[in-house]
Amino acid sequence: MTNSQEVVSPQHVKDEWFRPLPKKQGSAETVVRPSLSYWKDAWRRLRKNKLAMGGLIFLILLMLFAVFGPIFSPYSVTATDYPSQNQPPSAAHWFGTDEAGRDVFTRTWYGARISIFVGVMAALIDFFIGIIYGGISGYKGGRTDSFMMRVVEVLYGLPHLLVVILLMVIMGASLTTIIVALTVTGWVGMARIVRGQVLQIKNYEFVTASKSFGAKSSRIIRKNLLPNTMGPIIVQMTLTVPSAIFAEAFLSFLGLGIAAPFASWGVMANDALPVILSGHWWRLFFPALFISLTMFAFNVLGDGLQDALDPKLRR
């Protein structure tokens, strides 16, 4: 029934080969792939994703520049220098200057600080509110859960940016109010995801079983379940950052950004709009480039994490 090409043809089989094979202990098991821990495995897969790794490296560099960039710059973020206003990029001013003679290069790194701060804070606050709300909802279950989720459903239907605009108009534009406004509406998505994950944990049969044995359940949850359920939450956080950065830029663009002389990328882009047609392209180009690159980096990193952390795709 098989015609496969044998390395040794049956005619050449030696007689002395017909003796029992000494039992190799566990030889059958060795073919199984060595099991890596969840995080190591995820990291291995993330590392294979070149785009996501590129995004990660870019973000690390960006943060380093945001922290240390301004230190190496001879210019101040806020000090005006009218004689050298509206200069194109040059050796002295790498990214040019704005209408008040401020160095765009320096302002871009300050903008990075603000934009990333807004994004990361929004993601963290969303995470904490979401963990508490979603955790309670999922853990309690029953009526509490259905009531809490009904609330979430209604809030989910709110047009977020409109509410954010409304809040910003009332509270006045500042860094704090931007973050507050973004998180007031933003935590809902996280709460939904956390609740889903909590329900999933609850449904694992051995969790219910281990409850009766008491001792080891917290260990099981920490060692086996938490890593698996953290995946979607981490991905959601990674994707919250770029959307918060975008929202901040959007608000700045509507005139609701933080006030001059400080600048976020969105404020810089907004300030550049009136002068873009007079040829001062660098005013818009650099902040826009960094907004786009940062969002791109976070998006590809989020996608990569999604693939890397998905237990279904483990191989």
């Binding site: 029934m1 098989t2 015609n3 496969s4 089989v13 030696k14 029992p20 073919v31």
Partner: protein, 374 residues
Amino acid sequence: MNEHQLDHAKEQIKERVDEVDKSLPVGTSGVQKNRKKSKKVRSDVKVLQVNNLQVSFRTYGGEVEAVRGVSFDLHQGETLAIVGESGCGKSVTSNAIMGLIPKPAGIIKNGRVLFKGKELTNMSKPQLRKIQGVDISMIFQDPMTALNPTLTIGEQLTEGLRTHKKVSKQDAKQKAIEMLELVGIPNPTERLKQFPHQFSGGMRQRIVIAIALICEPELLIADEPTTALDVTIQAQILELFEEIQQKTDISIILITHDLGVVAKIADRIAVMYAGKIVEIGDKRAIFYTPEHPYTKGLLNSVPRLDLVEEELQPIEGTPPDLFSPPQGCPFTARCPYAMEVCDHVYPSTTTKSDTHAVDCWLQDERAKVLQELS
């Protein structure tokens, strides 16, 4: 199927559905019950000839040799069961016959599949489509996912018929109603307008079978058709298969890991391991005089009513990694009778009778001498 046969079949099936078979479809009770069927004269017409079929998949980790030289024939009206653990290549074999190997990841590296003398492996896709669903049909494992949730049962039943045979909408509908009756679904006329989620699992599997049979194929490939079903529903579906086969003389390839199912409806059994058929024979030979240690292991791992006192013995270990299949017999590492030769060379086929053949070094004269000595 003519009118008369159809009516008769309908009646019989109603009876069957009424008296639900409570007995578990395991062990030899099934064998004895169906002994009369095994005596059925074997047709000389070969519907399907598979010759040294080799299928590989390219994955990120390398090339997986899923099927490594499989050969068998299938006669008209015969049921061949392909048995083996998951990952042994049985589903890949059936997909290859059906022309459903996903390209470009999957490649048929070698071998021929002849359906009534026509070579299928090098056929163009449009040509193949004239055979798929018309001459060869397939039933999938999970009836909950095999039906499209957004189309009505009627649409899914008739679309194959309307694509392949130029049938009017009315005639197609009539035929669909007949098929639903045949597979034992009450109120077929109203049921046609319903969606899959309005049916239970067993009912859905009946619908899947009806869809597979509506173009009156000559070969039916059933990939684990009862695995996802309750035991009582399993029995009913298996009886439906027998019923249909008696009426239509259709040939069936049954892919399963469940020896109980095999005992119930198979005529012949092919045991697959690591991409190869290690033993093939008629049902009685495989159940009563198994030769390959793997076949024996499989039988020992299944509850049998005639061997009450013996304990169930699972086969220890796991099948080999098909990224780099072993040169010798793939079962060596798990085989209680393994010899040095097994590690070096894959055994050639030993013919035990017209219908029984096995790939094992224990069949070699030299091995027998050695065993008697020890």
